[in-house]
């Protein structure tokens, strides 16, 4: 009984290991790099535009460099790292999400939140102060002499 149990456990373990080994490459393999996708994410340093839009001699060399790395089987991340090693951080169209470059993402979010809070506070204050006419409870229209003159005019023209 114990031997049969050990056999079944052993088989199960083997199947699990095989399944794990079979799934491992698909789970870790990065998608194949494509020139079209990378061109959208990096700059032509000389032209100051996206590589996708650039046709200068420098851009042609940069594209050839990317094609060569793709042919060598490099992943998108590896190719972008290689471009940064050649041209510096400014070759990336979007700054990296770490270090000082992180501020490029964080600052607009903070600015948006601050602006939204300021706008909300402003609207609240405006409403409390009776802005837009919703807070007025008294009768609208002219008062005193103006009211008398208005009544007289209305009576005169039979309106």
């Amino acid at each position: 009984m114990r031997g049969a149990f050990a056999n079944v456990a052993g088989c199960l373990l083997a199947v699990m290991l095989m399944a794990l080994l079979a799934s491992a490459p698909t789970a870790t393999a990065a998608p194949p790099a494509s020139l079209i996708e990378i061109e959208k994410q990096v700059m032509c340093p000389v032209c100051g535009t996206l590589l996708q839009l650039a046709e200068s001699p420098q851009a042609q060399r940069e594209k050839a460099f990317i094609r060569r790395l793709i042919a060598e089987g490099k992943t998108e991340a590896q190719i972008k790292d290689a471009l940064v090693a050649e041209y510096g951080e400014e070759v990336l169209a979007l700054p990296q999400g770490s270090g000082f470059s992180l501020s490029a993402y964080v600052v607009p979010i903070i600015a948006f939140v601050v602006a939204a809070v300021a706008l909300a506070l402003g609207v609240l204050r405006w409403r409390r102060a009776g802005g837009g006419g919703h807070g007025n409870t008294g009768p609208a229209g002219p008062k005193g002499d103006d009211a008398e003159r208005l009544d007289a005019d209305l009576a005169r023209y039979d309106l």
Binding site: P45, V46, S56, P57, Q58, Q60, R61, E62, F65, A85, E86, Y87, G88, E89, E90
Partner: protein, 174 residues
Amino acid sequence: MSVRSSIAVLAVLALVGLLVYGLVSKGSSRIAVGEQVPSTSLPRLEGDGDESLAQYEGRWVLVNFWASWCEPCKQEAPALEEFQRQQGSPKFTVLGIDTRDLTDDGREFARSYGLSYPLLRDGDGGAAHGFGTTGVPENFLVDPKGTVRWLLPGPVDEQYLHEQVEPFLPKAKS
């Protein structure tokens, strides 16, 4: 003016200041004759290690910004190499700075033109920006004290080098 208004005005001024700084720091003006050159440290195009212009103090240096993808650079490279062969000495050297270029392309360029003078790599264009260049090639003659004595925002040829640069250099090759 209330405290709140003052804070708002200061915030707006800070924002405008930040934008102006961003615009100013993006552009740079070309170094003029009589000005000191920046002593940025750059990696050698071939081999290991860095070099800076400060290491060339005491020598006349013709700093040549170039790139392998630049056609006029191809035209002037033989003239620069010939000038180095004729004038290169402990008192003078041509110094090539390969800017915004791929390392392998730059090395291939140097090999194909047989460049024997020192070559540095300026991949991100930081040194070119420091000199205020607007393209390649650009040439700057720097005196032994690190001051620009002559410059040409464009390619040189043999005649130009002999007529414009040679008169500045020490007469005897030592």
